[in-house]
């Protein structure tokens, strides 16, 4: 199966886990050698309530999958107490689309075709050979929900790995949802210029594209068809999928009132919504808990430095957790994606339980999309990171990265420079 077929299938099926497995079906991962690691501390990354957050023991890997895990696994490589954990899965970034912020020739992360451009796809611009990815991978970042930017509806997000030589290898799920920028972020000279226009145009496009599957067929006795209906355009299909809940609405919103608007839209149009950002989420914690929609907050260190979120605070995560909201944590800044661990640690310092913090940067966000990446469990994919201490502590280092049972090289642009200049010649 070639890459084009694969992506098309992923798009048509829209079933993430399936697409993910499909992406690797023909790849050598399944032939990965068996390996055993023992005597470690294992953080499973499982969402709270889905199993043990932390266990002692080892991991046995065969065929790219975890076949055994826990105290009964012995032998193999002695971890000597090192921590095995799922690596971080970022939720809402531009890695793979943009390498150097101020070099336009390296950037494909913002498109301004139109203020409403559902047909724009992250996978069309994602570069699995980006030199940023190996730097992040070597520091424990294994994947990310990559968002397109620009306009009110920026296009189709995708879950991508930081490993994989080809686009097909790197793709976990595409599309993963449509990005909808609320607040002033959505305003531009290509479309609405204020929140008023953003919401008006959003309702217009949602009203105009009801899910055909949910609309009762016309009464043939009363309305004899004059001509067969035209097939829907690609954009119309996407709107239909959004309205039908087959495609997620990824609302990027920070101000409390913008989060409320996202919840209102989700309720009014029965959208499968995820709120990304949520800097002022703590102010609408009850509504977020009641709505049971997905929430990705972050960065934890977002400051009250902007009119978009003057009420940002460090204990946002702790307050949302206390309100019963399950969430992922994102950092956003692509070059600092590895600091997700520090972000989670800071959330702990401000009151978030440790297990909830680990899950928030590993398994929680993929789980929102029906993916099991970011977790360690028997039968799951053998993708994990070994750190020489608590992964949330800034002083800890990543020592090993394994993806689908395959040891990943830790060499990258930065290690090459270090090797070149560690001794001056």
């Amino acid at each position: 199966m070639n890459r084009r077929d694969l992506l098309r299938n992923a798009a048509i099926v829209g079933a993430a886990a399936l697409a993910g497995r499909r992406a690797f079906a023909d790849e050598p991962w399944s032939a990965a050698p068996a390996m055993t690691w023992s005597n470690g501390r294992i953080l499973t990354g499982l969402p709270i309530g889905a199993g043990d957050a932390e266990i002692r023991g080892g991991v046995r890997v065969e065929g790219g999958k975890i076949v055994a895990m826990g105290p009964d696994v012995t032998g193999g490589t002695d971890l000597a107490g090192a921590t095995v954990w799922p690596g971080t899965w970022e939720t809402g970034t531009t890695i793979g689309l943009a390498d150097i912020d101020l070099e336009p020739s390296t950037r494909d992360d913002v498109e301004t075709l139109d203020a409403f451009q559902p047909q724009v796809r992250v996978v069309d611009g994602f570069n699995p050979q980006s030199e940023v990815l190996p730097v992040l991978r070597a520091r424990g970042v294994l994947g990310a929900l990559v968002l397109p930017g620009g306009g009110v509806v920026s296009g189709q997000a995708a879950w991508m790995r930081t490993s994989g030589a080809t686009l097909a290898d790197a793709t976990v799920m595409a599309p993963a949802g449509l990005v909808v920028n609320l607040g002033k972020a959505g305003a531009s000279d290509k479309g609405p210029t204020s929140r008023l226009g953003v919401l008006a145009r959003l309702r217009d496009v949602l009203d105009a594209n009801p899910d055909p599957a949910a609309v009762p067929p016309p009464d043939k006795k009363k309305h004899a068809p004059v001509e067969p209906p035209k097939p829907p355009t690609r954009a119309e299909v996407l709107w239909h999928d959004l309205r039908g809940g087959r495609l997620k609405a990824l609302f990027v919103a920070d101000r409390a009132s913008d989060i409320e608007l996202a919840l209102d839209l989700a309720s009014e149009y029965a959208l499968d919504a995820v709120i990304i950002g949520a800097a002022e989420g703590w102010m609408v914690a009850r509504q977020l808990a009641d709505a049971r929609c997905g929430v990705v907050l972050g960065p934890v260190t977002v400051q009250p430095d902007s009119w978009a979120h003057p009420n940002a605070r460090y204990d946002n995560a702790a307050l949302l957790h206390a309100a019963g909201v399950t969430f992922g944590i994102r950092i956003g800044d692509p070059h600092r994606t590895y600091d997700l661990t520090t972000e989670a640690g800071i959330a702990v310092a401000w009151g978030l339980p440790y297990a909830a913090a680990v899950a928030a940067i590993t398994g929680n966000s993929p789980a929102l999309f029906g993916l099991d990446q970011g977790t360690l469990r028997v039968g799951g994919e053998a993708s994990f990171v070994v750190s020489d201490g608590d992964p949330l502590e800034p002083r800890s280092s990543v020592k090993k990265v394994v993806v689908l049972g395959v040891d990943q090289p830790l060499v990258n642009h930065q290690t090459e420079l270090y090797d070149r200049f560690k001794v001056l010649r």
Partner: protein, 403 residues
């Protein structure tokens, strides 16, 4: 005015049973630090009669964080046009401007910085200009008047910049530089610098002759640079920029006190050490522009091992609150915990020329302190209390801030 500048005289305070990280020697377990009249009166006791005591069992007492690269007050929160006061990008040379004139004392970032244990910052002009203007070193006292926040003992400093930023700002627009001062290349930047420095020397000569030219507020400051009367803090990234600036500095005979950012310092760390220049850098931020593409997280450690005094800096009103965690990352690459702590305390104090007053916990120094509920290099630790000149400027127990 003098009265306003002094903190209210308080009873002596003895902080007891803390792990004292002095930044001047090894950690002191179960240590005692006594504050008298805003100054550290003793490290280790005795506790004077009548002193207030604070039981800091299980806590860590460290010097307050010092950030040599801040724009707090010059880009006040919330962001917006009305708060954009950090770059006087009207021409590439603005040595006459002073960052202190832009400081908005109502910037809410000050409060959060104090809550992060920050006690001293250097507010620098931005990096649009080759010579951007003079800096303002502030103590983050809770005061209404700029005069009360200025660190009076700090010698003057000036911001210079070389590399991508000036040519980006002045390269595309002829409106900004109608007199032919457009900067399109690095060689153009260096040529413009030479012309400016030569103009200053010519101006000095002309001022000595009959019918001298009028005072030039720009060239007066350039002459202070040439005479080493002002500390030069140079924004730069790449090796060619660093080496090129040493050609200028050597030609006109001035000292470069610090490289700011200097993400490629590791490649020419021997040259930097030989010039006695210090380095203020990020832990591992990179990739935001081409001249930051070759940044490596070992930059600070390699440079310090070559003899360069290396400080962490924030360049951010957010990261300054967690500069301790940026320093903590350096433990991965070879720094000891003491070195990491020094990189946010005594080393930046030296860079700003205030090491006689602040930056370590030693008798006679200002009582600028941060008390953490754990190791300051741990992500789980939080600042419990911050003092400046012995005055409590943040208290978590009665936190007057939203956070």
């Amino acid at each position: 005015m003098l009265l306003l500048c002094l903190p209210a005289l308080a009873a002596d305070l003895a902080i007891l049973h803390a792990t004292v990280l002095t930044a001047a020697g090894p950690p002191i377990a179960d240590g005692t630090v006594v504050i008298h009249d805003g100054v550290i009166a003793s490290v280790g006791g005795p506790v004077p009669a009548g002193a207030e005591t604070l039981d800091a069992t299980g806590m860590y007492l460290a010097p307050g964080t010092i950030d040599p690269h801040s724009h707090m007050g010059d880009y006040s929160w919330p962001d917006g046009n009305g708060h954009s006061d950090g770059n006087e990008a009207s021409e590439p040379f603005t040595p006459r401007v002073w960052a202190g004139d832009s400081v908005n004392l109502e910037d809410p970032a000050f409060e959060l910085a104090r809550a992060g244990g920050v006690t001293t910052i250097q507010v620098l002009p931005g990096s649009a200009n080759l010579v951007g203007g003079r800096s303002a070193v502030l103590k983050l006292r809770q005061r209404r008047l700029l005069d009360q926040m200025l660190f009076k003992a700090a010698p003057p400093g000036i911001k210079m910049a070389i590399g991508e930023n000036p040519k980006r700002v002045y390269g595309a627009s002829t409106e900004l530089a109608p007199d032919g001062d457009q900067l399109q290349t690095r060689m153009g930047e260096f040529a413009a610098l030479r012309r400016e420095f030569q103009a200053a020397l010519d101006y000095r000569d002309a001022r000595k002759r009959p019918n001298p030219p009028a005072r030039d507020l720009d060239l007066d400051v350039i002459l202070d640079v040439i005479d080493d009367k002002i500390l030069v803090h140079l924004h730069c990234y790449e090796t060619n920029d660093i080496l090129g600036m040493y050609r200028i500095a050597d030609q006109y005979g001035f000292h470069i006190q610090s490289l700011q950012h200097g993400l490629e310092a590791y490649k020419v760390r021997d040259v930097i050490a030989a010039h006695g220049t210090m380095l203020a850098t990020f832990s591992d931020w990179w990739g935001f522009k081409l001249e930051a593409w070759d940044a490596i997280p070992q930059n600070a450690v390699l440079s310090s091992q070559a003899g360069v005094g290396v400080s962490m800096h924030s360049d951010s009103a957010s990261f300054v609150q967690r500069l301790n965690l940026e320093a903590a990352k350096m433990l991965r690459y070879g720094w000891t915990a003491d070195q990491a702590l020094q990189s946010i305390t005594i080393v930046p104090a030296r860079m700003l020329g205030v090491e006689a007053k602040v930056g370590s916990i030693e008798v006679g120094k200002d009582a600028d302190l941060a008390l953490y509920n754990g190791d300051p290099l741990s992500v789980y630790s939080r600042v419990q209390r911050t003092w400046i000149d012995g005055e409590v400027v943040y208290d978590r127990a009665g936190a007057g801030v939203a956070q």
